[in-house]
């Protein structure tokens, strides 16, 4: 290796690159620390407060611009926990939330379970009454909304 080889040039530049890395690590750390009061703590506190005040269903549905938080509330009040609730429509979109928000209720598509059945997977099928009409509860879903009917 000669004095003027590229390897030598690389070696002499090592400390300056190290210095740049050190400087950027410091910048990154200061950036991260500066965000703690507003973005890490207060925004988190705000999210928790909104969730607790609005309730899970309204919180998720309003954030995702979905319609049907009232349907979740109705199901919670009017169907037994250990029941199977039937739904009609795509399982993606708004219909993704009911199984999680209403656990341990199970949700099964009417394509796989006749609404006239009494039970599914050993659990009773949820029945209810809306506007004087009594029957099997069916959640009608599309990508952006949920509504309840009885059949």
């Amino acid at each position: 290796m000669t004095v003027n080889s590229p390897l030598d040039a690389g070696r002499t530049s090592l400390p300056s690159v190290t210095r740049w890395i050190g400087l950027l690590v410091l910048v990154h750390a200061i950036w991260g620390v500066a965000r703690i009061p507003g973005k890490v703590v207060m925004r988190r506190v705000g999210d928790v407060r909104d969730y607790q005040q609005e309730g899970a269903a309204h919180y998720f549905f309003s954030k995702a611009r979905l319609v049907g938080a009232d349907a979740i509330a109705w199901l919670r009040e009017n169907t037994p926990e250990q029941s199977v609730v039937l739904f009609d429509g795509p399982h993606l979109g708004a219909m993704e939330f009911p199984p999680a928000l209403l656990a341990p209720r199970l949700f099964v598509s009417i394509r796989h379970c006749d609404p006239a059945s009494e039970s599914f997977a050993g659990r009773p099928i949820a029945r209810g009454e809306i506007g004087g009409l009594r029957g099997t509860v069916v959640v009608h879903a599309d990508r952006g909304s949920l509504r309840i009917e009885v059949q």
Binding site: L14, P15, I21, V27, G32, D47, F60, L106, H112
Partner: protein, 475 residues
């Protein structure tokens, strides 16, 4: 202090890996995971013998800097604990997929329940691995605060970064600065989809990958084996990251890393394939024994060939052999997906037709622009990318300080791009929701790589400073 942190981190890692491995095995045979499993694993993890060496400190650290570092980490940890425990998940996938599985397992820690057994029960991402839900459920049943797992994972990752620096002889000031820089990375700690307390598994996966990366730098077999098992069993992408680490270690000829990764990958992937199959088919089809045998054969062959190449001094052949193996792998991938027994599964969705990448190559510029946009322009990852580039420039002639990590990061790039090219989802929406979380997975690998390179080169450049490593650090 360093010894205690190492003891706690290694104990927790061993306990989590053991509890979830045994727990998943119990789920697979149709049993009920016992409540004593996690406390027993924690006890074993904490008393398991461990011998590590720390560099000797020859200079005093700046006391005020250390106090400030401690306070910052404490405040962030407290915010994450509050965010995790105050409510269930407040973000989409966290609530609809992960929380649902965790609450079902917390109620009955067995797969013998309609949610998992009946294919007609609405169940999002049915075949996803169950490590995170199981860990949350077991913690919930034992201690009543299951979601504490999320901030604990963050603390473990931060601890691994600090221990990586400390065990390599870095001064306490550099250790503190490195920990804070990594720990406060915006996307990791902001209350957003994918962050630590969002309920998603992305930050959990990132934590295990961070520990694996630190284990690679320290050649810590226990860390690598345990974290690779956890990586594979946390999310379907974990299998890909484990394969990429195997490839990186093989290419770089890092035998210790290769063997530890091979062991972790075999244990994790065998459990994952059987579990995915059980969740998707519930005993209605033959388990994927062919795929498991192929997997063990390929990994075993990699280890054997690595030793052979090393003995014959044929290391220049590694890249060529890897290229040939990669092309063969892509060609047989559709068949391999079928052999895995779950061709409609979440990972198979991306792997069943790898040639789509070529057919949709015109989408690549949009994907690359999104990658640059997410990694540089929003501030989600601070200055991590410029730092990785600087570290790569710094380490370009070095085979030390985690050269397999640099290769691991480089191998991630084509995989991230391929995800979007083979997917049927609408590209703009897919990029918006997925790209930041993919980048999050590698954040710990990147920071371990940056800090290991920085620490090594600082020591070389300033030998008179003994263990003092940061050229910019206050004296």
């Amino acid at each position: 202090m360093g010894y205690l942190v190492d003891r706690a981190l290694s104990g927790l890692l061993l306990a989590f890996a053991a509890a979830t491995t045994v727990g998943v095995a119990i789920l697979l045979v149709g049993g009920v995971v016992p409540d004593w499993l996690l406390p027993t694993a924690l006890l074993i993890g904490l008393v398991a013998p461990r011998r590590v060496q720390f560099g000797i400190l020859s200079t005093k650290a700046n006391r005020w800097l250390l106090v400030a570092v401690g306070l910052v980490l404490l405040v962030v940890f407290a915010a994450l604990v509050y965010g995790a425990l105050a409510t269930p998940s407040r973000h989409w996938d966290g609530a609809i997929a992960w929380d649902l599985k965790a609450s079902a397992l917390a109620e009955h820690p067995t797969l013998n329940q309609p949610l998992f057994q009946n294919p007609y029960v609405h169940h999002h991402s049915r075949d996803y691995p169950l490590l995170q839900p199981l860990l949350v459920a077991l913690t919930e049943r034992c201690f009543g605060c299951g979601r504490i797992v999320f901030p604990v994972c963050w603390a473990m990752a931060v601890g691994a970064v600090g221990l990586m620096l400390r065990r390599r002889g870095a001064g306490l000031s550099a250790v503190g600065l490195g920990m804070v820089a990594f720990a406060c990375t915006p996307f990791l700690v902001s209350p957003t989809s994918g962050s630590v307390d969002s309920g998603y598994a992305d930050a959990t996966l990132a934590a295990w990958l961070t520990i694996a990366a630190a284990g690679c730098v320290l050649r810590d077999t226990r860390w690598i084996v345990c974290s690779v098992i956890l990586v594979v069993l946390t999310k379907p992408e974990g299998l890909v990251y484990a394969a990429l680490l195997l490839g990186a270690a093989w290419l770089q000829g890092c035998r210790g890393v290769l063997r530890a990764t091979a062991l972790g990958s075999v244990v994790g992937t065998v459990l994952l394939l059987l579990l995915q199959h059980e969740l998707q088919f519930v005993d209605r089809a033959e388990p994927p024994f062919t795929a498991i045998l192929i997997l063990i054969a390929v990994i075993g062959m990699m280890v054997l060939v690595d030793g052979w190449l090393d003995r014959r001094n044929l290391n220049a052949w590694r890249l060529r052999l890897a290229g040939i193996l990669g092309i063969i792998g892509v060609c047989v991938m559709p068949w391999l997906v079928q052999a895995c027994g779950n061709p409609s599964g979440s990972l198979a969705h991306y792997m069943k037709d790898p040639w789509l990448v070529w057919q949709r190559l015109e989408l690549l510029p949009a994907v690359v622009i999104s990658l640059l946009d997410c990694s540089l322009l929003h501030g989600w990852f601070g200055v991590t990318v410029p730092l990785v580039l600087l570290a790569a420039w710094q380490a370009r002639r070095s085979r030390e300080s985690g050269s397999s990590l640099g290769t691991w990061l480089v191998l991630c790039l084509p995989c991230w791009c391929a995800v979007f090219l083979v997917s049927d989802l609408e590209l703009a929406q897919h990029l918006r929701s997925r790209m930041p979380r993919l980048l999050l997975h590698a954040i710990g690998i990147a920071w371990v790589y940056i800090l290991a390179t920085w620490q090594t080169r600082s020591r070389e450049a300033h030998p008179e400073r003994g263990d003092r490593d940061g050229a910019l650090l206050p004296s």
